[in-house]
């Protein structure tokens, strides 16, 4: 099984080790963003995808999630 973002082997949630770590960061931070800005999951993903401080892998995962239209649970 390949990672949904790159060509590495997937290890968790269909992501490789590196993108899985970024995915976890994204999931973990959503609650903080929701409370701070009262925004939806999609708005959150768009915000972090264009934020200059977001790491490269986190951006790739956010863009992937936006394209795939995945729900908050990541399902």
């Amino acid at each position: 099984m390949r990672c949904k973002v790159c060509s590495r082997d997937a290890v968790e949630n269909d992501y490789c080790e590196l993108h899985a770590r970024a995915y976890q960061s994204i999931m973990k931070k959503y609650e903080v963003w929701k409370r701070a800005l009262e925004i939806s999951w999609k708005e959150y993903l768009s915000e972090i995808a264009k934020n200059p401080f977001t790491g490269e892998w986190a951006k790739e995962v956010a863009e992937h999630l936006l394209k795939g239209g995945e729900e908050e649970s990541g399902a």
Binding site: A22, Q24, S25, V32, F53, G55, A58
Partner: protein
């Protein structure tokens, strides 16, 4: 060449030619040693109680090598010490050098090792005496000094140590042998795996210290690349006092929700403030500790942007010119024996230091603020008091000045600083106005331009005073990812965790760049760096374990004090290495595939110049013509028949994309390096306004 029938002489061996010349001149009664040469190898003849010949090495003349020849196999566990020309390509001159030393040794009756008094110096001297001088290591004496000043060299010659420091030599040999065993086996395992898979050769390396160092960098890179920022808000108020505007910060540094931030802003709108309290705090700022090499390298990096390697090279040059003491030291001590007063007196003839040294010399007692770190062989870095005999180049002058000012600063009084915190209440919301001021300069005066102390002076303010709030500013903020390491902070980190030595850390960082595992000054790990570490972590986690590296370092250090035996440390190191190498060999195919793909990606990455400014969607790359083999820059959209953009490139030298755009036209740029010429940056836009400007300037000049 010295004649065979000449009177017997004392043969002194030094580490470098500059040191040989200094030592010979210092020991010659007339101060004029005679420079001689044999096959291009310089040596010096001096006359003192008896004739003296001082012959230099050029660093290490011997090295560890495998007993069997060939580079394409591993594991390798049998080794021997050989002249460098037998083990390294491009070390041919070492043969002549050793022949000259051997010839000079024949007519000597006393042998002195005057190489730098540290692990490396001791091994250099020991190997020469043992192998090139026919086993004279047993009878040789040792000269121990920390500066190349005449006084200290004469003293060191008069008080020779009766024998070589064999414990130091044993420790050094063990370090070289273990590092060689780890380096050669692991590096070959990686290189051979990649070559056998792809059929293409690329040098890959790792080592006992290199692996764990790369591990720090990868861990930081992972945190940065998977970082998701957190939003927060900052509020500041502009307060008008006596016609001047001061900025006060809101009592909470970070406001976590936009709602809360807006509520604060609304509460402050149109309101003025009242001073609720004023707190003064005085604090002492102790003088800095003297420079050890790591501290000098960090300071030079943060002040001048010099890499640790560059600082070490400059410091080494200053040492060889007897301007500063031996730089490869981990000591933060300045013992009285170096004669602090004498050094300050000598420095007082430099106009910039005159007043400062006079101030220190007027003190009853000169007591340096020493740090905890010690070095058994050398004190901290200090200026010798000698003044430059030539005009120093700017980087040399800067480092010398830094060492001098630091030396003076450590004798200074503590600085006394005061901070003021004014609490202003704006309709129930508190803001703090902060000031900072130096009350007593103390050591700050001596450190002068290198002090980083901010002064914020506030006007006279009283409690209950009403203050006008000009405006309240709300700023959207985000938390930032952890900072990238730079060569200076990485060196500090290696020092903190105790891996590598003061002599090797800078080189290890450089190797990471040379192997293309990392790039840029604010260090970015490349794909290749990631893959190499992943291979090591998956197949030999012990090798990149910081704990293991640190434990080995400690045991090797113990050999220096006879608390550990060389054989035991060496055997244990081999026991750890053996199963690792076996595992690498078993998994050669998988590892080879992983590394080959990473090398391929890295090579491709190296050729990417930037976005195509013509079509806007393609990528400009360095490409090679199939017909002529010539290189040029072309757009990747050419292959989709969408863009024909192409630019010629110089065919000689190397081309490296700079990763930044031209300031004149915004196009991507490359750097061209041709041997023997200064590298230059090239904007390949033929219509770049900077080119036009330069053309006009040249025309004007030729008209004039």
């Amino acid at each position: 060449m010295v004649c065979a029938n000449m009177e017997k002489y004392t043969l002194i061996i030094t580490e470098k030619p500059d040191a040989a010349q200094r030592i010979a001149s210092a020991l010659d009664l007339k101060g004029k040693a005679k420079k001689m040469e044999d096959n291009g190898v310089p040596y010096y003849a001096a006359k003192r109680d008896k004739p003296i010949i001082v012959v230099p090495a050029i660093g290490h003349l011997y090295t560890v090598a495998e007993e069997r020849s060939g580079r394409n196999y591993y594991p390798v566990f049998s080794f021997k010490w050989v002249p460098r020309y037998m083990a390294e390509r491009g070390a041919k001159q070492i043969r002549v050098w050793l022949e000259t030393i051997s010839k000079l040794a024949e007519n000597a009756d006393t042998y002195i090792d005057a190489c730098d008094y540290d692990i490396e110096g001791s091994i250099i001297g020991y190997c020469i005496l043992k192998y090139a001088c026919g086993g004279k290591d047993d009878i040789a004496k040792r000269m121990k000094y920390s500066t190349l000043t005449k006084g200290e060299l004469e003293k060191a010659y008069a008080e020779l140590l009766p024998k070589l420091d064999f414990a130091l030599i044993e420790a050094g040999r063990t370090r070289h042998e273990i590092d060689w065993l780890y380096g050669v086996n692991l590096s070959r395992a990686l290189t051979i795996a990649a070559k056998n898979w792809s059929g293409k050769y690329a040098t890959l390396s790792t080592g006992r210290v290199q692996g764990p160092t790369l591990r720090f960098l990868v861990a930081r890179e992972k945190s940065i690349r998977s970082f998701v920022p957190t939003p927060y808000w900052e509020i500041r108020a502009e307060i008008e006092i006596e016609g001047k505007i001061f900025e006060a910060e809101y009592e909470k540094d970070m406001i976590e929700t936009k709602k809360e931030a807006e509520a604060i802003i609304n509460a402050c709108k149109g309101k003025n403030g009242v001073v609720e309290s004023i707190d003064f705090k005085q604090f002492q700022q102790m003088p800095p500790t003297p420079f050890d090499i790591g501290a000098l390298q960090s300071e030079a990096y943060s002040l001048f942007g010099y890499t640790p390697r560059r600082t070490l090279d400059i410091a080494q040059r200053l040492y060889l010119e007897a301007l500063i003491s031996y730089p490869r030291t981990s000591s933060q001590k300045l013992p009285p024996v170096i004669n602090h007063e004498e050094i300050l007196k000598n420095l007082s003839s430099v106009s910039e230091y005159k007043k400062l040294t006079a101030e220190l010399l007027a003190k009853k007692e000169l007591k340096p603020n020493e740090g905890k770190k010690e070095d058994p062989a050398h004190p901290a870095i200090y200026p010798t008091g000698n003044l430059p005999e030539r005009v120093l180049e700017e980087p040399e002058r800067r480092i010398w000045d830094l060492v001098v000012r630091r030396f003076m600063a450590v004798f200074g009084e503590p600085a006394i600083r005061q901070s003021v915190k004014v609490c202003i209440n704006v309709n129930g919301q508190r803001f703090f106005l902060r000031g900072r001021q130096t009350l007593k300069e103390g050591w700050l005066r001596f450190y002068g331009p290198y002090v980083r102390a901010e002064e914020v002076l506030l006007p006279q303010i009283e409690r209950e005073q009403k203050l006008k709030v000009k405006r309240v500013i709300l700023e959207d903020k985000f938390t930032k990812p952890p900072p990238r390491y730079n060569p200076g902070s990485l060196l500090k980190k290696m020092e903190e965790v105790g891996i590598g030595t003061k002599a090797t850390r800078a080189d290890i960082i450089q190797t990471l760049y040379d192997r293309k595992y990392v790039r840029d000054e604010r260090i970015v790990v490349t794909d290749l760096g990631f893959e190499v570490l992943e291979v090591l972590k998956n197949h030999c986690p012990t090798i990149v374990s910081i704990e293991l590296t640190k434990r080995l370092e400690e045991r090797m250090d113990k050999i220096q004090t006879n608390m550990e035996k060389r054989e035991n440390v060496l055997l244990d190191a081999v026991e750890i290495l053996k199963p690792v190498v076996e595992e690498l060999k078993d998994k050669e195919k998988t590892i080879g595939e992983q590394l080959s793909n990473a090398i391929k990606r890295a090579r491709l990455e190296e050729r990417i110049v930037g976005q195509c400014p013509i079509c806007g969607t393609g990528t400009l790359m360095i490409l090679y013509s199939r017909k002529t083999g010539k290189r040029f820059i072309g757009c990747t959209n050419y292959f989709k028949k969408m863009c024909n953009t192409a630019f010629p490139l110089p065919q000689r030298g190397t081309v490296r994309p700079l990763g930044r755009n031209c300031r004149g036209c915004g196009w991507p740029t490359v750097q061209i390096r041709i041997k023997g010429r200064r590298p230059w940056n090239l904007c390949f836009n033929p219509e770049c306004p900077l080119k036009e400007e330069r053309r006009r300037r040249n025309e004007m000049q030729s008209v004039q």
